[in-house]
């Protein structure tokens, strides 16, 4: 599709708008007026509402059109978000009328979260109020920066330009402090229909667009197809012979034959098919916003929460990160209490590690030395999750860089991930590995080509178990047996690494750093395409985790020799089985063949 086609396609799509602002500044009236002036009301609707007004002995107001709930009319405020459809000659709109009362921030957030542009209403007579600022701040936090300010009720101030200019100056300054620039400040009277659909004579000093013109100038957000591929796994289905990984493409593109990697587990496979039911033809590719499902060429363990990406565009994986959070909970967001974070399809327990800055969102004042935030406030903070999560910075990929916080049963907060600096040792190491991988100078020989020549893929075989369980002899037999079968095997003995590469390390620092060096050496052998065999003591769980991290993105197979196995090893051997090293070695090789790691020579890939 050419540019022209894209532009047409974008223009034909529905534009999602939100109208926000302080309570009673006239949001519902504006929406009612827009509906009426664009001829978007169903016949009889106006009369229906007029009848209700008569029944209740009130003057008709446009706002009543929207206030479909009884309570709302009695209190005269929009309790919840309404979605109203209307159209201009250019395109269709859905307008979200969000409540302005402070108590209903969560409804405003619900309305604004998936809008593409916003109108922020300010009452000319009352000027900039608490919610005017709070809503401005929340829009920024939601990533909604396409904003125009509508200064309403100009009829009540005699259409005075000075009033307009004063508000414009004050609010521009506020938005500027957030890094947001309003597209326009439009003076209107929604009640009387001034400058809504047509520029009227009341304010000859105003030369800008009407509200409708402004709406038509807003741009549709392009779909994030150009960004790295992100696919948070929603579920895995086995309704028939197919094992389908289901989810939605959040950004980028996927095609059949792509090698994909799942984070945080780092498992890999190749996309075999993209499945679909009742479509003209079976798809062979998918792009952002599509809810799809695909099958893989091998049966790796994948579950909801895993984030599927392409090999060279990995997400960040960490247990800590910095975020900007807004809070809507009845109870405070505070240190020392556990919450659940929902980030795409990942769901993990978390807590606030540190409050960097607590802010009153209505004034932007910093609430100093405050280790909590209350309802309606915002904070810059560091979160710590119980297990690693995969994500991106909001600034690079918005849909995988935002999350909500759940307190007990309820979604109570939302946030965007601003920066990431590792705090724990594990996070630091993971980070090093990622920096290494991103900057790694790749050989012209592809891993697939090495695999074809060698008859096997590169793999790290980690034989784990208690001391004296026979890991060493088994490793030696396996290395020799693989070699005899023409495979490139190498037994990487930690003692040898310590003799040379790690000879400079003192006893006290030896553990972490020597593990890291062992891992980096293994990575080089893996990069050269070898089957690398190493052994690890069962007590050194951390070492094993480090090795797995460092071997990334190559596969690690754990063979555990134990009477009572722990963790999730790929193969378990009893002490007796490990004694007979030949049989054990054959068993391991059979497993590697089954997993298509040992493929044999001249195997076509």
């Amino acid at each position: 599709m050419g540019n022209n086609g894209d532009a047409q396609e974008l223009a034909s799509r529905l534009m999602r708008m939100v109208i926000v602002g302080h309570v009673d500044h006239g949001k519902s009236t504006l929406v009612g007026r827009l509906l009426s002036d664009t001829g978007s009301l169903p016949e009889g609707k106006l009369d229906f509402v007029k009848d209700i007004c008569n029944q209740q002995g009130k003057d008709f107001e446009f706002a009543f059109l929207l206030d479909a709930l009884q309570e709302e009319q009695e209190q005269g405020i929009t309790i919840d978000t309404s979605q109203i459809f209307f159209h201009t000659p250019k395109r269709k709109y859905v307008i979200i009328d969000a409540p302005g009362h402070k108590e209903f921030l969560k409804n405003m957030v619900t309305g604004a979260a998936d809008a593409e542009a916003a109108l922020l209403l300010i009452d000319a007579k009352e000027g900039v109020q608490e919610q005017s600022r709070r809503h401005g701040y929340i829009l920024k936090l939601l990533g909604l920066t396409q904003v125009a300010v509508v200064i309403n009720k100009m009829d009540l101030v005699g259409y005075d330009e000075k009033v307009y200019s004063k508000i414009k100056t004050e609010y521009s300054k506020f938005l500027e402090s957030l890094g947001v620039e309003a597209r326009e400040f439009i003076p209107v009277s929604a009640k009387l229909g001034v400058n809504i659909a047509a520029l009227k004579d009341e304010m000859p000093w105003y030369k800008g667009p009407t509200v409708l013109n402004m709406l038509d100038q807003f741009e549709k957000k392009p779909r994030p197809d150009h960004l790295p591929f992100r696919f948070p796994v929603q579920d895995v289905y086995k309704f028939d012979e197919r094992r389908i990984i289901a989810g939605r493409v959040e950004s980028g593109k996927l095609k059949v034959g792509d090698r994909v990697i799942f984070s945080p587990s780092s498992k890999q496979a190749v996309v075999k098919t993209i499945e679909a039911w009742s479509v003209p033809e079976q798809p062979n590719a998918a792009t952002s916003s599509e809810s799809i499902g695909f099958t893989l060429d091998e049966q790796i363990f994948v579950e909801r929460g895993d984030v599927c990406t392409l090999m060279d565009e990995l997400p960040i994986v960490s247990t800590t990160f910095d975020a900007n959070v807004f809070w809507m909970g009845k109870r405070n967001l505070e240190k020392g209490r556990k919450f659940t974070i929902k980030l795409n399809t990942q769901e993990v327990e978390c807590e606030v590690h540190e409050f960097k800055k607590a802010i009153d969102a209505s004034t932007l004042e910093t609430l100093s030395n405050q280790d909590y935030i209350a309802k309606n406030d915002v904070a810059e903070l560091t979160l710590k999750t119980r297990s690693p999560v995969a994500f991106d910075l909001f600034g690079s990929i918005a849909s995988t860089g935002r999350f909500v916080l759940v307190d007990e049963y309820d979604v109570c907060g939302g946030g965007i991930i601003t920066t990431y600096s590792p705090i724990t040792k594990e996070d630091k190491l993971r980070d090093e590995v990622r920096t290494r991988d991103f900057n790694w100078i790749k050989s012209d020989i592809k891993p697939e080509e090495r695999a074809y020549r060698n008859g096997h893929r590169a793999v790290l075989i980690l034989i784990t178990g208690e001391p004296l369980s026979g890991k060493g002899p088994l490793a030696r037999t396996l290395e020799y047996s693989l070699f005899q079968n023409n495979f490139q095997s190498y037994l990487l003995d930690r003692r040898n690494v310590n003799l040379g590469v790690s000879a400079d390390l003192s006893e006290s620092t030896v553990e972490d750093e020597s593990a890291r060096r062992l891992g980096e050496v293994a990575k080089l052998f893996l990069d050269a395409g070898h089957v690398v065999i190493s052994t690890s003591n069962a007590f050194h769980k951390e070492v094993q985790e480090d090795l797995r991290l460092l071997a990334n993105p190559y596969q690690v197979i754990e063979i555990q020799v134990a009477s009572q196995p722990t963790g999730e090893p790929d193969i378990i051997l009893s002490l007796d089985e490990a004694q007979d090293t030949k049989i054990a070695s054959t068993k391991i090789q059979d497993f590697l063949k089954e997993k298509k790691i040992l493929m044999g020579h001249n195997y076509s890939i």
Binding site: P42, A68, S82, V109, D240, I244, W277, Y409, G414
Partner: protein, 268 residues
């Protein structure tokens, strides 16, 4: 990707979230166009299968053709159909002459309570849409109901970035609305595109009458129309939207807040 694709993809996402997060889930199938496209979307979401049981609340006053259609496609599409009735109220002679709202409450709302209790459903998928009427415009995709099935529309959970309310206290349940963001026109355009077999009560009779919304025979009226097939309905809706969709549904017109009252008490 056009607008219908967008709607379809979002609905599939919601159906999958529902299926993953609720152990005991059911989908309400009224036989009308909306819940029928819901069945279709489920088969899209689950690659030809509908792993969620379909509940039909039979008031026994339904238009007979609806029951025939229901049984035919339940069999053809391999659906797990569960039919619910409020037998006690029917035995006591409940009908619309006792008052439309009273009747709806007893046969539909209470009928639903009975079947949900019997099967222990904690999640219920419904085909309501925001553009149907004002009260439904206020709904969430995942909307909690308390132990008395009541809807607290004043205190609804926030919904942002496709994160829904999937955890809840033991004595509550969740209503899930995967096509909340569709319009009546979208529904018909989708039926046309996907060639979904739809009950022919929606098509105009030679006398120029058709149903725009389906319900119980005594309380559902026809509209004047010459739209004899799906294409013609799409055209009719595009250019002649003069009356509201539920104008044929008597219970809505009972008084100003009829629907709000019914819904707050657990009506679909």
């Amino acid at each position: 990707m056009d607008h219908l694709d967008e709607l379809e993809n979002q609905s599939i996402f919601i159906l999958r979230e529902a299926y993953k997060n609720f152990k005991n889930l059911a989908m309400l199938w009224s036989i009308g166009k909306d819940s029928t496209i819901l069945v279709w979307l489920a088969r899209k979401a689950f690659f030809g299968h509908c792993p969620i049981p379909l509940v039909h609340i039979d008031t026994t006053y339904k238009i007979p053709a609806m029951i025939e259609y229901r049984d035919h496609y339940a069999k053809k599409w391999g659906l797990n159909l569960v039919v619910g009735k409020n037998q006690k109220a029917l035995d006591e002679g409940m009908n619309h002459e006792k008052g439309r709202m009273v009747c709806c409450e007893a046969l539909k709302t209470q009928g639903l309570h009975c079947i949900m209790e019997e099967h222990g459903y904690t999640g219920l998928i419904l085909g309501i849409r925001r553009d149907e009427e004002g009260t439904r415009a206020k709904e969430r995709y995942f909307s909690p109901r308390d132990k008395n099935f009541e809807w607290n529309f004043k205190d609804q959970p926030p919904e942002l970035w496709d994160q829904y309310k999937t955890t809840f206290a033991d004595d509550t349940h969740i209503r899930i609305h995967p096509i909340l963001h569709w319009t009546e026109l979208n529904v018909w355009e989708y039926i046309l595109r996907e060639k979904i077999p739809i009950i022919d009560l929606y098509f105009a009779t030679p006398e120029g009458k058709r149903y725009r919304s389906l319900g119980c025979a005594p309380c559902t009226g026809t509209i004047d129309s010459n739209a004899k097939n799906v294409e013609e309905i799409v055209e009719e809706l595009k250019y002649n939207t003069t009356t509201s969709e539920r104008s044929g549904r008597a219970q809505d017109q009972e008084n100003t807040y009829a629907m709000q009252k019914l819904r707050a008490r657990g009506y679909m």
